[in-house]
């Protein structure tokens, strides 16, 4: 396993490799930060050009893009309440309130630290488990995915701020919205009201861009002034402090990274799930659950650590099994195959240098991104002090053009604006957005794994309860709220 490490280390010190990696990281940062674009788009655009490159350089380029894009996405999530990529959605909930409070740099520092540490955690697990991976992937079937997703959905209800009823309604509506379109398990086309556009369901990225970016854009444009409301002088300081705070919340960091890695390992559960589940679990297990949603550092850490650790988990499945856990991994696989490297258990024995190349590249690009974040935080934070009419015009143009580019479907642009109005209405009405988003992301997966489990077990509901992992998930789901309740009681009655 470790024999390729030296060789990979030698290649990384070569100037052209470092340059490629740096180039990849810059592309990853930019594509991550612009809503609508994303690392996947960058990777598939560059794929044909790398055809003639040698395999090691190509892998460095793509690991650079992959490593940096999630931090790039958190920049816009924190500064503008706009998740640059869907995996940064949960970062908005606390990162943006921090920026509004004038702590943008601190939030960026938190994110930079959490990204790097989360990525390292995921890779550590990768290195430890890569030889013994297969049983875990096989053990995680549809019933287990179902319980994991239900776990995420149930925690939502308990974390939503304000009225429980409003949270339940938003969660329910989110799930129902995710069911629109072609339902594969039954072959039915549901709830499209005759529209052809809705066949593939409501698209994820326009959903996020509309609800977050445009919803908030309407709000701050109407209010005028700048995004940072108070403490404007402090807003450019505190990045380093943010990085160090990751160690203060080490428990939260480790827990979120573990969740991220686990979600990454399971094939068929998308990356946009990891940050949301980690976030809801962080709220539940925090000593101060009420601070979430108002700018809690733990919220940023939970989301971003899960985000970057999930790549380690997904790589684990991809490398040891040849089964891509996500679209990004599927692309990476095709790069491997294109260069004559076949993934699967043999890879570790035959070509360890590839794995180390990939891992080194991934770590270095994460470090590049985080160092960049640290150095640039004070300048990036200036965005929160720019008069909003500039921001409003630029973000409307860039976000809508970016959304269009992704699917080249002009109706996506109209959908974004309509969802933006809904997003603003929800803020104005004081209705929580978080449960709607979680319901939307997890709903379809929940129904699919539910129906598949039933089918596989000939319609019997016992299929949901005949594995150890299912029971562990069910018991955790019941135990977490109980423990939270007990802990809050013990802290309030000394």
């Amino acid at each position: 396993m470790f024999e390729g490490f030296g060789g990979a280390l030698v290649t990384i010190s070569e100037p052209h490799v470092l340059l490629t990696l740096f180039f990849g990281s810059v592309i990853g940062l930019i594509f991550g930060a612009v809503p609508g674009l994303g690392g996947i788009l960058a990777m598939s655009m560059l794929l044909p050009f790398t055809f003639t490159w040698d395999a090691i350089t190509a892998v460095y380029l793509f690991s650079g893009i992959m490593g940096a894009s999630s931090f790039g996405g958190s920049i816009s999530a924190i500064l503008l309440n706009t998740p640059g990529t869907p995996v940064n959605a949960a970062t908005c909930f606390d990162g943006y309130p921090m920026a509004k409070r004038g702590e943008a740099a601190r939030a960026l520092g938190l994110s930079a630290g959490a990204c790097l540490l989360g990525a390292l955690f995921g890779l550590l697990i990768l290195a430890l488990l890569i030889q013994v991976m297969r049983p875990l992937v096989i053990a995680f079937g549809h019933p287990e995915i179902f319980w994991l997703v239900v776990f995420g959905l149930v925690t939502t209800a308990t974390v939503s701020q304000g009225s429980l009823l409003n949270g339940l309604i938003a969660g329910g509506v989110g799930i129902l919205l995710s069911l629109v379109g072609l339902n594969e398990p039954t072959g039915l086309i549901r709830y499209t009201m005759g529209s052809e556009y809705l066949w593939d369901g409501i698209p994820l990225i326009p959903f996020f861009v509309g609800l977050f970016a445009i919803g908030e854009l309407i709000n701050y444009s109407a209010q005028g002034g700048t995004i940072a409301r108070d403490n404007i002088q402090a807003s450019i300081r505190g990045a380093w402090q943010g990085v160090m705070e990751n160690f203060r919340y080490a428990v939260c960091l480790l827990r979120s990274s573990s969740i991220g890695t686990l979600v990454g390992i399971i094939p068929g559960v998308g990356g946009e799930t990891a940050n949301l589940i980690a976030y809801t679990v962080a709220v539940q297990s925090s000593r101060d659950p009420t601070s979430f949603g108002t700018g809690s550092p733990e919220g940023v850490i939970a989301s971003e650590a899960a985000n970057d650790s999930k790549d380690g988990g997904a790589l684990l499945t991809t490398l040891s099994f040849g089964i891509p856990g996500s679209l990004a991994m599927a692309l990476l696989l095709s790069i491997f195959i294109m260069h004559g490297v076949s993934p699967g258990p043999q890879l570790i024995l035959d070509n360890p240098i590839f794995i180390w190349t990939l891992l080194n590249g991934y770590v270095v690009s994460n470090a590049f991104a985080s160092i960049f974040g640290l150095l640039a935080a004070r300048y990036l934070a200036i965005i929160t002090r720019v008069p909003v009419h500039y921001l409003s015009a630029i973000i409307a143009v860039v976000a809508l053009a970016g959304t269009y580019i992704l699917r080249e479907n002009i109706w996506d642009v109209v959908l974004v604006v309509l969802l933006g109005i809904l997003g603003f209405g929800m803020r104005r009405a004081g209705v929580p957005v978080l449960p709607l988003v979680i319901g939307f992301v997890l709903g379809n997966l929940a129904e699919k794994s539910f129906l598949l489990t039933l089918r596989i077990h000939d319609g019997s509901y016992f299929g949901f309860f005949n594995s150890v992992i299912s029971w562990i998930l069910i018991l955790t789901m019941v135990a977490v709220p109980v423990i939270t309740r007990l802990r809050t009681r013990s802290t309030t009655t000394p």
């Binding site: 398990p185 072959g187 699967g344």
Partner: protein, 253 residues
């Protein structure tokens, strides 16, 4: 998924007819010298399998033809946007589309999609990869080793498919009907999940193209291949019998 029997049969006849019609005559364009960029429409998002293949092809095509080849992603409506937009484009050879034929054939036959797929000029197969019928080797599940044995199945055989729009569905329908075994479709797997489903025994058969990941599964004994849809045995897998050998000459591709 249980498909209503009537739809199932009508569908099979039409599908076979359509597939044959489309496979018949590839266009010839030996003397064509393009003078402006060529666009290839892809009905799916950036980064998918079809998109990746089209991008690689575009790169080679532009070198051979000497003009830029642009890839335009027009996802939506399960890939049908590419068909609609191709139909509205000028038939001058500068607009092409990579179409997921089995899925769109299902749309045309079962859902009455317009335009008629036969009205296009078909250039060739984008990806040529033989499909194999896979069976589980998980203990306690039904073990299928050949078509003759599958015909004697008392309960419907659980066949995993991605969905009615994917390639695995028509292949499974045609095989089940020609061989004549009862089948129950379990849909909703993502591509890679089919192989884990087979290993886990969630499904007992599925049809998969030749990929690295099922090769590993077959080599390690976690799955086995019942048949290959080729006229002759695959050179890399001489142990796997063809559908033709097992008495079904129509299953040669």
């Amino acid at each position: 998924m249980r498909i209503p029997k009537s739809l199932f049969n009508a569908f099979l006849v039409a599908l076979v007819a359509l597939s044959l019609a489309l496979a018949a005559a590839p266009a010839s364009a030996a003397d064509w010298k393009p003078s402006k960029p060529i666009t290839i429409l892809v009905g799916f998002t950036v980064g998918g399998a079809m998109d990746t293949a089209a991008r690689l092809q575009g790169e080679v095509m532009s070198k051979l033809l000497g003009v830029p080849v642009l890839i335009r992603n027009v996802p939506g409506a399960g890939g049908r946007n590419s068909v609609t937009i191709l139909n509205r484009a000028k038939p001058d050879g500068y607009t092409m589309a990579a179409i997921n034929l089995p899925g769109q054939a299902v749309n045309q036959v079962a859902r009455g999609m317009r335009p008629d797929l036969r009205s296009f000029t078909w250039i060739g197969r984008q990806v040529s990869n033989p499909y194999f019928l896979q069976a589980t080797t998980k203990e306690g599940k039904d073990q299928w080793t050949n078509f003759k044995q599958m015909k004697t199945a008392k309960k419907p055989i659980k066949a995993g498919i991605t969905g009615t729009g994917g390639n695995t569905f028509p292949i499974s329908v045609i095989t089940a009907n020609l061989v004549g075994f009862p089948v129950e479709f379990i849909a909703g797997f993502k591509g890679p999940e089919l192989i884990t489903g087979i290993i886990r025994g969630d499904i007992t058969i599925t049809n998969l193209p030749l990929t690295k990941r099922w090769t590993t599964a077959v080599q390690s004994g976690e799955a086995k291949a019942v048949a290959v849809y080729l006229p002759e045995r695959h050179p890399k897998f001489p142990d796997i019998p063809t559908g033709v050998e097992q008495g079904f000459p129509a299953l040669d591709r």
